[in-house]
């Protein structure tokens, strides 16, 4: 495309959200172009063959809450999306035992019973409560946050609808929700359960992507997200994408192209071009300018507003808010190519447990200690880890008989004492491998290749400011009508014709596609 090409919409970043926005705009007949800095689309949702024959879901590894609307509207099944179930979670314990939760209710109950007869029953009661709350909350994933201080009818109606969902809750559920909003994951779970590995493993969903520990207040709320996934489970919105996470992005890209969107890779945006107080296009690093009636940013709020837009175009209080937006990176990712399967001491052999998640989270103390390291600028010596073996679910991920292992770990602070470098990266990789080896001693010898991604790499390679996996922490004060900041939670920005569609907007991070879809719908409303 030449110098003066003019599009209806120019989308910065080919993450899954940017692609979805482009697809929806194209579907509405708009000329959309996606500009992606890397050589492939997907952003945090990519499959990369980093070592020949071994395909890694390099960063994000399970699909959590991909909106059923998006799957249907964009006909993603026809474009090759296939979500496979992830059946179980096993938590190996230092004493040689384990805790396993699977798809079958009876088996899970019996297993929990082995650890605590009371917890086995509490688990069902807890599940029911969370089901109710998730059911009440779930709809907010699919709506544009209303502005609570605005008097516009649309906002008032939205707020009313939002409020009613809570006021309609029976008292016990209402109070449980209040607790979820204010308590720590650990405290909340302590009220229900006594089995340490159960509490620790469940608590993990409260701290993923935040720079908080399981005993930090406010972490309980995120537990709910897990249960929202379960309600949506009937749609298979939750699971492992065949072909790795990149397959989600590829399916969306294919849909977008078919609908007429253009996708350009190796097109790094340097600046948003502003004329007469309006965004009118972007300038690429190559010097090329691409113009559009609107510009949509799919990169995180800090990158967008502190780097790509010159400060004089934005109000200073807005800039202040964006500067304060918490985006501390705290996670790392280690991808292994394996010559053989890990052999768990607690449950040896190639069992169905290797088709599910392996969680290194034996106790709440373990989790909190892992966080303690990070508080003072170190990576966890014994990190919390969420591990899957994609090749056990989709054999196409590795050569026959070989395997890939995906290890998500916390905590690895972006601001590491002494800073990240090659040596620190390898030391971090060693801490991860050594810790897993305590539960699967054959692991070290099975490793053919190791790919370590630190928060620094997430920033430098994948364009995530400070390496935050969610474009900003999912803590309560950064959610809903405060994401990324009030009152710009409705996908618009203070700069006219500049919109946001990435995970830095409601409902936040994860492969949900919700931001991308809602942004497109808002843009079309203003058209």
């Amino acid at each position: 495309m030449g110098q003066n090409t003019r599009y209806d919409a120019v989308i910065i970043g080919g993450g899954h959200n940017g692609l979805i926005t482009a697809a929806y705009l194209a579907r509405a007949g708009k000329r959309a172009v996606v500009l992606e800095r890397r050589h492939l689309v997907g952003g945090s949702a990519v499959t990369e063959e980093i070592f020949p024959g071994f395909k890694f879901s390099a960063l994000s590894y399970v699909v959590s809450l991909l909106r059923p609307d998006v799957i249907r509207d964009l006909q993603l099944a026809r474009h090759g999306l296939e979500l496979l179930p992830l059946e179980s979670t096993i938590t190996p314990l230092p004493n040689g035992d384990y805790l396993m939760r699977g798809a079958d209710h009876d088996e899970t109950r019996r297993e929990l019973y082995r650890h605590s007869p009371k917890d086995a029953e509490a688990y069902d009661d807890f599940g029911k409560l969370m089901y109710h709350l998730a059911f009440a909350m779930k709809h907010i994933l699919d709506v544009v946050p209303p502005n609570p201080t605005s008097m516009r009818p649309r906002d008032l109606m939205g707020l009313l609808r939002f409020g009613r969902h809570f006021l309609d809750l029976p008292p016990e559920q209402f109070y449980a929700l209040c607790k979820l909003m204010t308590m720590s994951a650990a405290d909340f779970l302590d009220e229900w359960f006594e089995t340490e590995p159960l509490k620790a493993t469940m608590s993990a969903s409260g701290i993923i992507g935040t720079f908080l520990g399981v005993r930090s207040p406010g972490t309980a709320y995120v537990l709910l997200h897990h249960y929202m996934g379960e309600i949506d489970g009937v749609f298979r919105a939750w699971g492992f994408a065949k072909g790795g996470t990149g397959a989600v992005s590829e399916a969306i890209a294919s849909a977008a192209r078919e609908l007429g969107a253009e996708i350009r890779t190796e097109a790094s945006v340097e600046q948003v071009i502003v004329k007469n107080g309006k965004a009118v296009g972007v300038a690429l690093e190559s010097g090329e300018e691409i113009h559009g009636r609107v510009v949509v940013t799919g990169v995180d709020p800090k990158l967008t507003f502190l780097k790509l837009v010159e400060p004089q175009h934005l109000p200073s209080d807005f800039l202040d808010a964006i500067r304060r937006f918490k985006i501390r990176g705290s996670s790392g990712k280690v991808n292994l190519a394996l010559g053989e399967l890990p052999n768990l001491t607690c449950l040896p052999g190639k069992g169905p447990h290797l088709r599910g998640a392996i969680s290194i989270s034996p106790s709440l103390d373990y989790m909190e200690r892992a966080y303690d390291d990070a508080k003072y600028g170190n990576f966890s010596r014994h990190p919390y880890m969420d591990i899957i073996i994609p090749s056990m679910i989709d054999p196409g991920m590795a050569p026959p008989g070989k395997h890939v292992m995906s290890i998500f770990c916390q905590w690895a602070p972006f601001e590491l004492n002494g800073g990240w470098n090659d040596e620190q990266r390898e030391a971090f990789g060693d801490a991860v491998v050594n810790t897993i080896s305590e539960f699967a001693p054959n692991l070290k010898n099975a490793i053919i290749h190791r790919h370590v991604v630190t928060p620094w790499d997430m920033q430098e390679t994948y364009g995530l400011t400070q390496g935050n996996i969610f474009h900003g922490e999912l803590s309560l004060h950064q959610l809903f009508f405060m994401r990324p900041t009030h009152p710009w939670a409705n996908y618009r920005t203070p700069l006219k014709n500049l919109y946001q569609c990435g995970s830095g907007t409601h409902p936040g991070g994860g492969i949900t596609g919700a931001s991308g879809r809602l942004a497109a719908l808002e843009i079309l409303k203003d058209w």
């Binding site: 009876d106 019996r110 007869p117 009371k118 029953e121 009661d125 029911k128 109710h132």
Partner: protein
Amino acid sequence: MLRGTPFHERTAPLCEGQNWRRWAGYLSASSYELVNDREYFAIRGASALIDVSPLYKYLIRGTDAERFLNRVLTRDVAKCDVHQVMYGPWCDETGKVIDDGTLQRLGEDSFRLTAAEPNLRWLADNAGGLRVTIEDDTDSTAALALQGPTSREILKSLSDADLDNLKYFRLAFARIRDIPVTITRTGYTGDLGYEIWVEARQAVPLWDALIDGGEPYGITPAGILALDMARVEAGLILIGVDYVPANRALIESRKSSPFELGLGWTVKLEKDHFVGRQALLDEWRGGPTWGFKGLEIDWNSLQKVYSEFGLPPELPQMTWRTSVPVYSGGKQVGYATSGCWSPTLKKYIALAHLQSNSAERGTRVEMEVTVEHQRKKAAARVVELPFFDPERKRS
């Protein structure tokens, strides 16, 4: 893998069609023979041996055991003699049924409670401040139901218990060929019958003894399908089928009170306190909105519905367990939850939840029947439960 019960070694080879279903996390035979008729007729004509080990069992002991049980059950446990058994439900604070089971008074301060669902946590939560221990002995105690007209003779020939004097809903400690057991005169068939409780490690010898000694009396291992027909004839409710346990119901309207399940007789409002009492008292004063009754489907009407298609009535081969609408004057007034052809009564019968004004005995209603993919209605009559109540059950 699901577990087998302590009798699995013996029951597995008998299960000709590998026809298993799951019951509380255990494998349980649907039927042993390829055709289950004979198993049903053993219940009514000879003796059926049914593995009921998957029932949840709790041992409740302590000086406050009676007080505790009186707090949770709707029955008056103070009136339960030593060696007596009581059947009844327990409710949540709003008077909705959580579960139902039998309570055996093993001694002054010692009881066994059976339940269909896990209830340990709920029981423990209600035991606060009382001198009582609750022990889950589900896995360590196995249980067999020996049901049918010859069951007494079988036990008399094998055990030292005074069976002629063991009355309906009483228990005895005894030995069956040297194996210590508890025999209760209870069952889920509405027939003469017993349930035998034994330590799990003695399960297999007990089975062998009963099969051996019962042979001359026509003892027949029977599965859940046969039991399910007998319990419908006996008008006995099944959790998860005829009602949703209150603590599992996602919405209020799925819950039922004892009054709404035909268990009003078990609710002792004169007791000064038990969980759900206030709500039940209020409901009793106002009169319950639902009744749980039997339906007898009118044969001529059924014949007429089928004859439209040139067919004779096609009867269910086994108990169905789905919700089937019941109408009166064109309006839905309830739903049936279990139904079967009663081979003994030669009637098509069903258990139904009916709005109180349609629950009077003799009320004419219509039940939906699907014939050749089309929804039809067959006339039915409301009757009191049980459908079948032989003299021998209590004699």
